[in-house]
């Protein structure tokens, strides 16, 4: 088999501080030919110590070299479960960098930003159509903020009816951010158990007059569709609660099934995942939320609305829980998402979902005889193995590190917590069968190595610039600043 990770010239690089030479500058200014304007003395520091002094070429080389250490979805397969690291078409970048969109000041009067408002409005409409919700707001600037917006909307709805319910039910297969969101929104979290898929009986056993909402992830973190979702939603509604759906896994539903039709009241989208904008470096993201009819008045404000041919920000929303963000979302991400939706079209989006599910099931079929598969229900867009079958005292972390030697970004590991030593693989739709085969070949070779020569795994990675890091010492005794 071919091995994508090989040796080669890897340029070393010092910190900027270590490159510094006194008096070196990265700029050259013309002679001053106007009266000098001085800053007030109290605003000026006497001396700045330790500030790096560098030339332009020093800085350019520094960052260019660092960039060669990156591994991203543009350099190879990146099966990070739950993160949907699909390839991001470059046409989205072209759209996002058009000066008319990229250079708008957020405080520009609405009469002069009609194009941007139109884009937001049509994105809201497209997302609403795909998800089956009555309205969508694009304001939340990330998935977790979308969750918070959703839970604050739920809280506002309850409060408007004089209800003071205090608990939120969260199954053990929900995303890890959900309990934190519920707590931040002022609720007590009640963890509930699932057996891979949440049962109606489990929800019924915990659904009392003090439960404000159930937070589910669908498909859940095992990559399984919550097949009981309709009766569960019905039960929660009958007992006065609402259902929040974490939509981070919408890549398994897009164009096929609509959460609004299942009875979900609120869902956030991760535009940076499902709708293809780069997010490997931790942002920026976008977490729009869609809501059912009865929750529309409580959404954060303003909402972008249409009046005939004109678009405007509607601030006159008395039941809204308020403003969530200074401006209107991470606009660049919204542009990319809109470009993605328009360039894919309805049939293309549906096809993307089908391929995402097919790819995950292909990997499952190739690996499940060797790697333990604890939950055997039909997988959707991702598949979760455990390290139970590994020989040679090898664990999930060793497999992940050895994959780096074979040139792959490791999958998500040790999550979800319901699987011991979880290996969570999400290939996405943008990978070819050849790529999937090479990856599966590597996974199978690694399982064999664990049996034949486990040190290959224990000592991995050996090919990259940096060997296995001492994560324990780094966490226990972190060095947080450079000292020359």
């Amino acid at each position: 088999m071919t091995q994508a990770g090989t040796s080669g010239l890897v340029l070393n690089e010092k910190l900027l501080f270590e490159h510094s030479e006194p008096g070196r500058k990265g700029y050259s200014l013309p002679t001053l030919d106007v009266p000098e304007a001085t800053l007030p003395a109290e605003l000026c520091r006497d001396e700045i110590t330790g500030f790096p002094e560098l030339s332009e070429v020093d800085v350019v080389r520094h960052f260019t070299r660092l960039s060669t250490w990156n591994y991203g979805v543009d350099s190879g397969f990146y099966p990070l479960g739950s993160c949907t690291m699909k390839y991001n078409p470059k046409v989205n970048e072209v759209a996002a960098r058009m000066p008319g969109l990229a250079d708008i000041h957020p405080a520009t009067p609405q009469a002069l930003t009609q194009g941007a408002l139109a884009l937001i409005y049509h994105l809201q409409e497209d997302l609403a159509e795909m998800s089956g919700f009555s309205a969508v707001t694009i304001q939340p600037a990330a998935g977790a903020q979308g969750e918070l917006a959703g839970m604050l909307t739920i809280r506002a709805w309850h409060e408007a009816q004089g209800s003071t319910r205090s608990k939120v039910l969260i199954p053990d297969t929900a995303h890890g951010t959900n309990p934190a969101t519920a707590a931040l929104a002022g609720y007590d979290v009640v963890p509930i158990a699932s057996d891979g898929v949440l049962s109606l009986a489990e929800v019924e056993a915990h659904m009392d007059d003090d439960v404000a909402a159930l937070m589910v992830t669908n498909p859940n973190t095992l990559g399984l569709f919550e097949t009981n979702i309709e009766p569960i939603c019905k039960l929660v509604h009958e007992r006065g609660g609402l259902v929040y759906c974490d939509g981070a896994n919408f890549n398994a539903l897009m164009g096929i099934a609509r959460p609004g039709d299942m009875g979900i009241d609120v869902m956030h989208f991760n535009l940076h995942k499902t709708f293809s904008t780069p997010h490997g470096g931790g942002g920026p993201g976008a977490g729009p939320i869609g809501v059912a009819e009865h929750l529309v008045p409580f959404l954060p404000k303003p909402l972008v609305v249409r009046d005939g041919e004109a678009y405007r920000l509607d601030d006159d929303r008395p039941q809204s829980f308020g403003r969530l963000l200074a401006f209107n979302g991470n606009f660049g991400v919204l542009i990319r998402a809109y470009a993605y939706i328009r360039s894919m079209g309805a049939a293309g989006l549906k096809r993307a979902t089908e391929m995402a599910v097919l790819n995950a099931n292909y990997i499952r079929a190739r690996l499940e005889d060797v790697y333990d598969l604890p939950y055997k229900n039909r997988s959707l867009h991702e598949v979760v193995f455990s390290d139970k079958n590994l020989a040679g005292g090898c664990h999930t972390l060793d497999v992940a590190k050895r994959l780096i030697d074979y040139g792959y970004h490791p999958p998500t590991i040790y999550f979800p917590l319901v699987v011991k030593g979880a290996i969570m693989i999400e290939p996405t739709e943008t990978e070819s069968r050849e790529i999937l085969d090479e990856f599966c070949d590597a996974m199978l070779v690694i399982a064999q190595e664990a049996s034949d020569n486990p040190d290959l795994l224990h000592n991995a990675p050996t090919v990259p610039k940096v060997r296995r890091l001492d994560e324990t010492t780094a966490a226990r005794k972190p060095k947080l600043k450079w000292e020359g």
């Binding site: 999550f415 994560e471 966490a475």
Partner: protein, 128 residues
């Protein structure tokens, strides 16, 4: 793996040493092994009321973050102040240096419902 006979255990893998007035709580050898290298421990302050089955603290390893649950209801009388600075003691000495809190229980007899060594070993055999 060791599970001292003088201790009681919970389903969530805490151990409990029941003495005359106070009970000492930590996490079991099985729990520390499953977590891996512990890098952070958060404990309550003395005087905090804890409720049986509810989280009283947090243990974070390089793999995961877990809540630690109170085995009995009561008031925290003492806290292992050294632990937040030396979280590795949870791994190296889960039953001695790695103790977490001492609780003055509301009702000492609640400890009767906890597992003994034999029952706990059967419990973890089931979990594996």
């Amino acid at each position: 793996m060791e599970f001292p006979e003088e201790l009681k255990y919970t389903e969530d893998h805490e151990w409990v040493l029941v003495e005359e007035e106070l009970v000492t709580v930590g996490i079991s050898d099985f729990a520390q092994d499953a977590l891996g290298d512990v890098v952070f421990v958060e404990l309550p302050e003395v005087g905090t009321e804890v409720v049986a089955g509810k989280a009283f603290g947090v243990v974070e390893s390089v793999k995961a973050v877990s809540d630690v649950y109170a085995p009995l209801s009561g008031v925290v009388e003492d806290v292992n102040e050294e632990l937040p600075d030396t979280p590795e003691m949870v791994n190296t000495s889960p039953y001695d240096d790695g103790w977490m809190i001492k609780i003055r229980p509301t009702d000492n007899s609640d400890a009767d419902n906890l597992m003994d060594t034999e029952a706990y070993q059967a419990h973890i055999a089931e979990e594996k």
